[in-house]
């Protein structure tokens, strides 16, 4: 899907009149940003589920969603600043609300790992991380609203004009790219969850083989949740 999207990006979508070839980064940058933001909020929603049910699977899902969203956020910041360099001539533009908001959100979520790592009890770690994810998830839209208000609006109005403002060829490419990015995100989530499950099962089996089905075999501290 994503490959298809990239094919469309390069061969199908017309070149932007103002921005030329660099505009094509738009098909990576914007879907990535949207997916990352949705990922943060979904992580917060999973965290709410964890706090309500206290089942560790929700903490795991929240963790994975936030993990991948932060990785995407790095991508967003990099592609965003490349784009900014190309179209405005600077690597970093402070009057650019989306980029600034993204940086703030990224800085906040970067604390997720230090927080988890600094709590030794797994249950407490999961609960505190969930509280963090809920607070941060609620902070994301609020922060965007505040920062957007602060700066005059020079960002290309991509978000608002998906349906209307783009020429149909661009719109189609964009939608395909967005779908591709979402699928990529979901697939990576599934993959990471499966791998975490497998690691956990493996460790449980090892313990079984070692003959102590309950004594502690601590595997060192880690920031990742456990089941």
């Amino acid at each position: 899907m994503l490959t298809g999207a990239f094919a469309l990006v390069f061969f199908y979508a017309p070149l932007d009149v103002d921005q030329g070839f660099v505009q094509k980064i738009f098909y990576v940058h914007v879907p990535m940003a949207l997916v990352a933001l949705v990922g943060f909020i979904v992580g917060g929603a999973f965290a709410v589920m964890h706090l309500r049910t206290r089942e560790s699977k929700w903490d795991m899902r929240s963790y994975v969603a936030i993990h991948l969203s932060v990785i995407l956020a790095v991508g967003v910041l990099v592609t965003g600043s490349i784009w900014a360099r190309a179209s405005w001539g600077h690597w970093w533009v402070w009057d650019e609300p989306m980029l600034v908001s993204f940086l703030i959100v990224f800085l906040l979520y970067a604390t997720y790992w230090p927080l988890r790592f600094a709590l030794e009890d797994k249950e407490k770690q999961a609960r505190y991380a969930s509280v963090f994810a809920v607070v941060a998830g609620a902070f994301v839209p609020l922060n965007f609203a505040a920062v957007r208000m602060a700066e005059q609006y020079i960002h290309p109005q991509t978000g608002a004009t998906i349906a209307g403002g783009l020429p149909p060829k661009m719109a189609l490419t964009f939608v395909v790219a967005l779908a591709g990015m979402s699928l990529l995100f979901v697939t990576l989530c599934k993959y990471e969850l499966a791998s975490k499950h497998a690691t956990y099962r493996l460790r449980a089996l090892r313990r079984r083989l070692a003959g102590d089905d309950d004594e502690l075999t601590l595997t060192g501290r880690s920031a990742a949740p456990q089941l």
Binding site: I104, T111, P114, V134, M149
Partner: protein, 224 residues
Amino acid sequence: MRSTVAALLAKELTLEWRTREAVPAMVLFSIATYVVFHFGLDRDRVVGDLAAGVLWVTLLFAAILGINRMFVAEHEQGGFDGFLLAPVDRTAMLIAKATTLFCFLCVVELVAVPAFALLLLGPPLTQALPQLVLVLLLTNVGIAVVGTLVAGLAIQTRARDLIVSLLALPLLVPVVLAATRAATPLLQDGGAGALPGNWMAILAIYDLLFALIAYAVFDFLLED
């Protein structure tokens, strides 16, 4: 509920009065920061947006000092367990702690804002004092609520001070942003401009939303 909050609040204020741990440090820190700004910016007086920025960045960092100390007595001297054992609503802890921090910030500002006017501010402080106080109060509510939440999140961790700063700074960016934008016209040379209503609204909405979020999640920080 009200009597519980009153009991907690009385205890907090007595403790601070006895130990004088947070407020004097916050005041001294603010004044020292103004001195640093004076040399860092190489200016004798600041005006408008620069003045608002210097004022609120200083207050924010001073607040973080206070936030770091917030739950230390509870954590180290068993106050959490004592509170959790009692048949009381846990939200009382959130309300009492946030109120305490709010009071601390107000006291700090009683000294720090006149000191700012004396040391750095160009136009006279009195030209828009009521509006400025309003902005300060709304900011304090936001910092108090977010600070309590962050302090609660960080208190059980080992690198407490680090986590507090890393969490509080991004979370409070909108507060600093709105407060400085709202206060900029108040600190202009040649008479104060009007107080921008939209920024005050942003501050108020932020305060309200975070109060609700804190109310919803704070109980989970107190368990076990």
